[in-house]
Amino acid sequence: MPKYSFVKKVLVIGSGPIVIGQAAEFDYAGTQACRALKEEGLEVVLINSNPATIMTDSNIADHVYIEPLTTDTVKRIILKEKPDSVLPALGGQTGLNLAMELAEEGFFEEHNVKLLGTNVDSIKKAEDRQAFKDTMESIGQPCIASKVVETIEDALDFADEIGYPVIVRPAYTLGGTGGGIAYDKDELFEIGRNGLRLSRVTQILIEKCISGWKEIEFEVMRDSKDNAITICSMENIDPVGVHTGDSVVVAPALTLTNKEYQMLRNAALKIISALKIEGGCNCQFALNPNSFEYAVIEVNPRVSRSSALASKATGYPIAKVTSKIAIGYGLDEIVNAVTKSTYACFEPTIDYVVIKFPRFPFDKFVKASKKLGTQMKATGEIMSISNNFEAAVLKAVRSLEIGTEHAWLKSQKDLSDAEIIDKIFTQDYERMFSIFEGLRRNIITIEEIAEKTMIDIFFLKKFKNIIDMEVEIANNFCEEVYLKAKKMGFLDSVIEKLAGQSFTYHKDAVYKIVDTCAAEFKAQTPYYYSTFDEENESVRTDKKKILVLGSGPIRIGQGIEFDYCSVHCVWALREEGYETIIANNNPETVSTDFDTSDKLYFEPLTREDMSYLIKTEKPDGAIVQFGGQTAIKLTKDISELGVKILGTQPDDIDAAEDRERFDELLERLQIKRPKGRTVFTTEEAIKVANELEYPVLVRPSYVLGGQGMEIAYSDADVIEFMDIISGQIELKEHPILIDKYMLGKEIEVDAICDGKDILIPGIMEHLERAGVHSGDSISVYPARSISGRIKDTIIDYTEKLAKGLNVIGLVNIQFIVYQDEVYVIEVNPRSSRTVPYISKVTTVPMVDLATKVILGTPLKDLGYGTGLYKESEYVCVKVPVFSFEKLHGVDTTLGPEMKSTGEVLGVAKTFEEALYKGILAAGIKIKDSGKAFISVRDTDKQEVIEIAEMYAELGYDIYATGRTANVLNQNFVAASSVRRMNEESPNVYDMLSRNEFDVIINTPRKGREPQTDGFRIRRMAVEHSIPCFTSLDTARAVAKCMMEERDNKEFEVIDTTKL
């Protein structure tokens, strides 16, 4: 069937901010979808609140609305744009839920908007637990004994009936939010109640626990003609019990016989046909390892994280094909974009092995619970490709960027045997590394591991092969062993370490192609992975070529912003006529889409892996400034490998990051910075801290996202932080910086410099005072509260610093304005988190310009002028978004270490409206009235009076702990006193448990708090979804905004392509 004739203008719903469970994969999917629709000549309207995405660029859709993802906003956009149809399947659970709500309300029908893709009834059948079970039953597909309940009492009754342990799965949530395994009544009470609260429809599924079965996924695709295909099978190495997003996953499934495979494949095809899915769909199965018994776990009637992985693993563009199907095409009418000679109606054949490893945020959240379960905790993932399992595993661990080049970890080496075994058995997030360590120490056999963990012994034996090879290298090193080790994926540097000797053998990697068809057809837009065979399929062209280094897995502090920058850099290079080469390993991103660059290398970003690529491609230059710290860290290596670094030079990058050199520069430029020093030991740190006088800021050099950064108020704090930092990095290589902490206003600037001129698209101001990491603070553009003199100083300093550091390309500078003076805190000669949003709101295409400047075009000739770009008439407020709900044990207090996983943007004519939109988009639900609970540290007590008054005026009853209440009452703000946690009932714990408060203002006493009242209050706030402000600045701004805006139900939706 050809394209539906009624489709002319399509609304695409994005997935909103990056949170755990819903990350960059939806930018990838959404971007592919928009492009696929535009390719068909359709007009595309996009809504997504996430400004860091590529899909919200003006060249991806015709109309872009960076607005809160609420039904209200979507309605308003539909009324304004009048699209004839809406495509929701690409926006994750968020997009799907929104569309479902509007469909159920009848809004689409009323306004003659067609829902493209899978219809409402089918989505309901897949999403609603009971309807799903009924459907499965009707087509003879087995499900696990389970029941949907709406009260905790029913949950407990059913669990008694089927027996513990049971799994709790809330309906309509993403990343398994609020789910878990309950082993007894008490646990079920806790998890069940939480799940009910988080479910949009107050429903949870109680299900018989089948932990230990094989977890197999199929990505399936169906069109309206009922053609159905499976794209890829995937097998979780972690069996059922660990969320698939947190599992190590291999594709294709490796341990199934043809019978088992066909049984599940046919089940998947039957399911997708029965549900009448149109587009991509993910089916998860549990398979009893000792029989043909299986059960359907879950079906996602939309593109997902797994479909992004399957797309990258096979070369099959699931999102693109899903979009084409949605507008009417049959699978047999859509051309296979990789071969360009065959059609999308085929099942990709793979002639390699793909492994996905999750990337966890526990390097930042050292105190969080690190045990894996049914609730996803990973922030990102990496994918590796090789033609043997062992090499794929070793590439994967290198790609993770967790400070290791091999299947070993510094943190594991220091553990006792008992601790290693404990970690293997308790589903610790580093379990795979513990298995390696256990096998290496020979303290456990693969049989024992298999028995306890239910990990298939097939995989464990492969792990053991790696350890056996280590032993062989150590004991019988020779050229033959070297070659075997190379094929198994060992790095030269690792072999050298193991052999205890240097050697003269060397073998270079060659590259094979991912082509969807195991070489059966010639590929037109392939991508590459390295092996140690003889034939190199990557043929170097004569074109001028530039290597762009990507940013690896998404982690806190390094999110999709950097993928945005890498992709834009590639596009700009293409425009300038260069052949573009990307090296990256993140399967969730646009940069690793098959047609983003001319050549894509799916590789770990390490020196040795890059050396092979460079030998094959001999690029004319490399660009490192867009790939975040991942790429920056490789600058020296790439340069030593003989490739010219384009843009800011390695030595200048070093000058910005090396404390002494940077201080010299500031001295020369007469620019002030907070006093501080570089130290290498804890003793030095204490000495310096006392000289500077507390509070001081402690942080390692060369990091992103304030990793390991803390404000220390005492020697004890310094000692604690230094301990944590030295556990993660080698202090000798990366010294620690100790700075005087100033409580001032933070200003941030991104600029482009060509060596002569600079262009500052805009100046941003942070709403919170210094001390809150820039990624976690609410950021406002244009800066509102700085004087003309300060602004001029900032422009002047920016220019001086950019030129002083010989910046060619982008630079990000953070300032503090303290007592009417400007201090520099940080200069990053690279792209930053704020580049995407500033580019969008100022309409200055920063990466594009920076790339052209890097290639030699002067800024003056690029049409955007120099100096400070004209200020937008709109105010833009970036609001951070956190994933605290998924990370138990993490303190939600904002500080110098970044904690947010994503961001949203509010765009409006006034600051208040922009902030209001931002708050709405971030999902912070501030009620019009209710009960506010206030408990602040002594130093904040005077300041909080005015804020409490504002909330009282808004209509809140104020509750406060003893001394805070006293201060408030003494200052004529009526506040009821609430008992502390350790006092008799009813106390604050009881009130929180009963969900009595609607907003909480709580500032911690100092630094890191142990398990105090404050910590527990904040965690309970998270668990009860109560807005909790840990900075008075945020609390004040929100109150002010609510006072102005709460009656403003009719805010204007703004098309950012028309700014």
Binding site: K225, D226, N227, I229, T230, P252, L254, T255, L256, T257, N258, K259, Y261, Q262, N266, L269, P289, N290, S291, G330, L331, D332, S341, T342, Y343, C345, F346, E347, P348, T349, I350, D351, Y352, V353, N387, N388, F389, D456, I457, F458, K461, K512, C517, A518, A519, E520, F521, K522, D533, E534, E535, E537
Partner: protein, 358 residues
């Protein structure tokens, strides 16, 4: 020990074999199925071939006595990148190495099967040999080129007829065995047919006089044009008025018998993901295939029949529906997983015609 795979164009791939040194010749083909190696090894259609697997890890789940397509190995040799020596599956009885070794099947491992596939894709299927590494290549090339397997169907067909009964059978089917896979027979049985298998040499008269409701022309190995004597017999069956269902070689033989022509494909269709469109229904199915020859589309005269199925990758003929006779043939291995599958259609045609006769 070190070994080589030598192709007739002189291309050499280094690998190794286990156990005693072996020397085998055959037509080298690649198979893109990611799993199902045991089925491939025992598929009679592979008679005379050295089969290379494009998937790099072979033997992961070991072998068992159930998952076979015939009672013996049919391949000349097996080419893989990596053999798994530590398989795991609840039905696993032996590792693939033991399994092959016991049956004296020569396997060469450590081969860059992707590079091999690229050669075969670009230059076409050709002969080759697995040889010890120290072989004098120049001496073997002639032998490789000369290798030809003569009418392999006769080698893989049954020696005597064989009867299999279905529970509650609705039809009686004769399967003309040119190298029939076990799964074809079990699909018929599953679809409600009592099955009698006849050797390839059987005459049309014997089969037509057997009192069957329909005849199945099975899959099998070799160049269809080599089987002139069978083609003559097949024509009698095709034009008998009895329902006939042909697959693979059976499909090609029927076409040749009715005046159509066949050709050798550059590198064949061997794998589990060949997309086939049924033209009338405008539906595309992912099929399992294993063939090196195909019926030429323009040779199917409109008086005789119509092309009912095509491969959407290369537009080759995948099925023919004959005029005037209730005869349907397809090139691929049909499965029984969806309603209205080709087996059930065959059964339907048989039962309908049976009714008319009565």
């Amino acid at each position: 020990m070190k070994a080589i795979l030598l192709l007739e164009d002189g291309t050499v791939f280094d690998g190794s074999t286990r156990g005693a040194s072996c020397e085998v010749f055959g037509e080298v083909v690649f198979n893109t199925s990611m799993i199902g190696y045991q089925e491939t090894l025992t598929d009679p259609t592979n008679k005379g071939q050295i089969v290379a697997m494009t998937f790099p890890m072979i033997g992961n789940y070991g072998t068992n006595s159930e998952d076979v397509e015939s009672d013996s190995f049919k391949v000349q040799g097996f080419v893989v990148r990596e053999i798994c020596d530590f398989p795991n599956n609840f039905r696993c009885e032996k590792s693939i190495d033991e399994y092959l070794c016991e049956n004296n099947i020569c396997v060469i491992e450590g081969i860059d099967t992707r590079a091999l596939t690229r050669v075969l894709r670009d230059k076409g299927t050709m002969n080759g040999a697995i040889l010890p590494a120290d072989t004098d290549i120049s001496k073997k090339l002639e032998e490789i080129k000369a290798y030809k397997i003569e009418k392999p169907a006769y080698e893989v067909t049954l020696k005597e007829k064989k009867v299999l009964s279905a529970e509650n059978a609705v039809c009686k089917v004769a399967v003309w065995d040119f190298g029939c896979k076990n799964s074809v027979v079990s699909n018929l049985v599953k679809s409600g047919c009592d099955v009698t298998l006849y050797p390839a040499e059987t005459t049309a008269e014997e089969i037509l006089n057997g009192g069957f409701d329909g005849i199945m022309l099975s899959n099998g190995p070799g160049n269809p044009k080599d089987y002139n004597e069978i083609i003559t017999e097949v024509k009698k069956v095709v034009t008998s008025g009895k329902p006939v269902f042909g697959i693979g070689l059976g499909h090609q033989l029927a076409a040749l018998s009715m005046g159509a022509d066949t050709e050798k494909l550059q590198y064949g269709h061997r794998g589990a993901s060949q997309p086939v469109k049924e033209i009338k229904k405008d539906r595309t199915y992912i099929t399992v295939q294993n063939h090196g020859y195909a019926v030429k589309a323009d040779s199917v005269s409109s008086d005789v029949g119509v092309v009912s199925h095509v491969n959407i990758n290369d537009n080759t003929v995948e099925g023919i529906e004959y005029k005037n006779y209730p005869v349907t043939t397809v090139q691929f291995y049909p499965d029984t997983e969806y309603e209205d599958n080709l087996y059930s259609r065959f059964v339907k045609v048989m039962t309908e015609l049976k009714g008319e006769v009565r």
